[in-house]
Symmetry: D2
Subunit: 318 residues, 4 copies
């Protein structure tokens, strides 16, 4: 499971926790403008916006978990089992596989509004990357400097939701999370204000009691609520270092420590956390085993190129 957020301070930051029980050889990957995206059922993209993000590279193809392009548009895929439905080939649509979806959008769009245009024509087609790499059930958050949307391919087709919370986790569908947030609208960062007679011995025995009821478990609905509460109330100086640092504090508040979430395949934990300055194209990350913030700047390399740039991620379990 995962948590993605878009956070505005002076610049705009986009990132996520990737929560899994094992790794898939993740690298920080910069796709330059002339890298040729060979598409399965659409024509290849030979020239497009450059992008940076975390990906597993297989057969020279960057399978992005999330990425940001040089125009400041960002997109992340998050696990969505049981709800994601992919479709047969449809000759009236742009047939894009789920693993091509991030490059397709980030390669061509500069904004959420442009992304919406493309999505209207898309059919997310059910073609596995390979026999060994079947499709993951995903939904996506796409954010620019103004706003965010969520894209879900459901049994009745693609749904695009405006996402004013600018947070995404996993199941249930986004419309559930949207309603569920209203259950927490009264939570605040100050003390609780008594609603009873003054003479009753009710008091704030601790700081922070105005937020009693904020969930702290690791389910996707609870992470959604907590990540939003922390992000929305965040206070940080404008400087890059403070902003990036605050972003990781937000992600830490909903991270999964090893041992807390058991699956049949082992314990799920936050393998990495990322934070991309969408204005500057700098990708920051930490890993479970290395809490120091590392960074890669897409503008430090030649973007008019055709070969992927991959950077080893420090501190990842294999």
């Amino acid at each position: 499971m995962c948590t993605a957020i878009s956070y505005k301070n002076k610049d705009v930051y986009f990132g996520r926790n990737l929560d899994l029980e094992r790794g898939y050889g993740e690298s920080v990957v910069i796709t330059p403008r002339q890298y040729i995206f060979q598409m399965r059922r659409a024509k290849s993209m030979a020239s497009h916006y450059a992008m940076i993000g975390m990906a597993t590279v297989v057969d020279e193809f960057p399978l992005y978990y999330e990425a940001t392009n040089e125009k400041g548009l960002s997109m992340a895929g998050l696990n969505f089992p049981g709800n994601a439905v992919y479709y047969e080939y449809d000759d009236k649509k742009d047939n894009i596989t789920p693993f091509e979806f991030i490059p397709w959008i980030l390669g061509q769009c500069t904004s959420v509004s442009e992304a919406k245009q493309l999505i209207r024509k898309i059919n997310l087609v059910n073609i596995n990357f390979s026999e060994q790499l079947p499709l993951s059930p995903l939904h996506w958050m796409i954010s620019d400097k103004q706003c965010s949307i969520v894209v879900e391919s459901l049994k009745n087709g693609i749904e695009v939701y405006d996402n004013p919370f600018e947070v995404l986790t996993n199941n249930p569908t986004f419309d559930y999370h949207k309603i569920n947030m209203s259950n927490y609208m009264g939570l605040n960062v100050g003390p609780a204000n008594t609603q009873f007679r003054e003479e009753l011995p009710l008091y704030n025995y601790s700081l922070g009691m105005g937020a009693l009821g904020l969930p702290g478990d690791f389910s996707s609905s609870s992470r959604f609520v907590k990540a939003f509460f922390v992000k929305e109330n965040s206070v940080s100086k404008d400087e890059e270092e403070s902003s990036v640092n605050q972003f990781f504090h937000i992600l830490n508040s909903v991270a999964m420590p090893k041992g807390c979430v058991w699956t049949k395949n082992g314990f799920e934990y936050t393998r990495y956390s990322s934070c991309c300055n969408a204005d500057k194209g700098i990708y920051y990350y930490t890993t479970y085993n290395n809490l120091e913030i590392k960074s890669v700047n897409m503008h430090c390399i030649e973007l008019d190129q055709s070969c992927l740039y991959t950077y080893e991620v420090m501190g990842l379990d294999s």
Copy 2:
């Protein structure tokens, strides 16, 4: 407010989050064996166990927030406003000021059991460090490699509680936290098991639903519950790096991001997090502004000395 924990893996680790709205010039401080602790109402300690921890040094006196001695005994003071009561001088007791309490215990004891002996004779006497530095209302957790206790100086005298949870936060008194934990005894790291008829459409839409109900706000009672849940379920390799890393993940899960806890004096946040390997005397820490783990090893210096060793803490706000 704060959260202290003792965590056993191959070695034993003791540490805490220090949550405050401002700083007091904290340093990592090693007090060597011959440093003379001048006591206000007890005879000075001229020879004692060496200790390492975080302290504000004023007039050459180390005001420890928490520390570990060379025998592996650790002790932390945590905010306890409204409940802590300090007393007038009592000539039948050892009159120790609250700010001398950590040195007094760690200077003389090798274990919780020895600490209990000393505490029986102690009167926590209400003498301010100085006019500018009045006493803080505190309670304490003391941990050795086997177990932990909590010490509270209340209106009816000193209470010493066994603390099998090996977690401490702030108000209310420890006996409240102890009972309150029973409200969460059914939470687990796996899926929720339905208690209803199988044919009903109830399902684990997310991982982690066995822990629904775990609180995520920043009140002291909620941090107690969550810190214990995460620590108790923690899974980590035995190696030092994995263990220390896991310790900080536990602390991160109950840390206070800036903006989430408002006080009249500003936002309270986790200024630093610490983790001391109590077996090896290595003190690790991170700060709000610098998430990289730094360390100081007390055995790398000469302990048969009389002058404090102080180490600047990187990344602290002033």
Copy 3:
């Protein structure tokens, strides 16, 4: 707001709490078979199944809150503000006003399955009963002896959901309640089973701790969860008196005492609670001011008639 349930013991019982801040002259009303339902945009029903339930009679028309017909089919309308959408006249559909919906279904159907057939052809047309009596935003639960469905007329048309919980309250839409119930799937009527080490001092200090987390506020989502928990776990003898009695205990557990739910128009409270033995056509009720169970048996009167039978409800505030 309201809570409706269908409860199976030896017989099947259907009923509800009606929660409002004021009254509308409710009576128990039996509509016999030859009463002529004059429909606004459909042909009148001159011969139909007889039905019994609570209604406000205006201009000789029974505006049913809920009713049960002689075949054991039951239907209740519940407040659904903000979500209910009624439509313009559609000449390809059966145009039924919301206030005609209960008679239309109960007059013609013997089962949920038959009701589903009719609903497929229905357009809920936005015609007020009168200028003084505008339409209420409602959704409906329909139950027979086997199962229940929920009918919602939403902005995208009519949705019919199978409702295996056989409970309905108010907003949000039913699909929210359905997912939300999964958050409570682990609650049970026994003790909590500790998930931690046995030696920790965690214990069931009270009976009933296996259900900690069951909500007790009066919001529609919380009443849904609690009503289902209580109904599903209910234990009762088969006899009529025990069954009816148990039914009212279930409704009491989610009833609104005066003062607990404030609205701009006064306090909302449970004006009446009803329980109809759907097999026998006996309608039981209690009112806020009179907790004694009263009853009216539809088979004690002549059903081959054309005039409404109305019975004053004892204990109703005006």
Copy 4:
């Protein structure tokens, strides 16, 4: 387990739910002034205030569950397993058995303040009523027209607490409930007020959302919170019928339907609910099987008598 409350409207009302899995032959019992209370270790009371309440009469002795005396002082015993400690005979104290405690106080006191005087001298002595009737572990609420106290005989002796909530349930000790109530101080009967930016789509989808977080399970800590919330917010006309009716609505909101609380000995449920007008000496009750309110007026009989008056309770399971 049980719930006792004292509720002030024009008159003062005291009562409780008795939650048990079986019955003990309860009757409404009036003890007139000259009935001789034979005490086990204190001198007998041959003349005392008359009292009315629910009791099991064994060997002509009224074992009161709760009662009110002719001066308007009321007292109820509630289950307190694991915490109640009764003591050996102490010749410096008034040695009163737990089953004599209600008569001892109500026979001699006109107010809580007088009761406190007597309690200071009491030792609750561990003498069983008989071999077949061992002592129940109990704590007590005592209420007059102004205020309430709680009496607990604990391992460190008798504790008397002021109880401004005027509610009592069961474990843990009263000081836990007192602190725990502060966790709910922000709950109110109106809508939730959003603490986030106005433009976010957060809204009160239902009435009653200001009380989200109010617990609805049947544990003693949750019943304490809910009973207080409902009682404190109750709105009722001054008249006797409205007041009594409202009292039962409060008790219904924390009553135990059959099937919801499982014990090794069967399901615990609310066998009876009582409400005594403490000013007028009228005892009202309902039973699980008979929700109609019945009453017995102590002033309708001759109180200068020596024989118990017992009234069969309608609707009780054996």
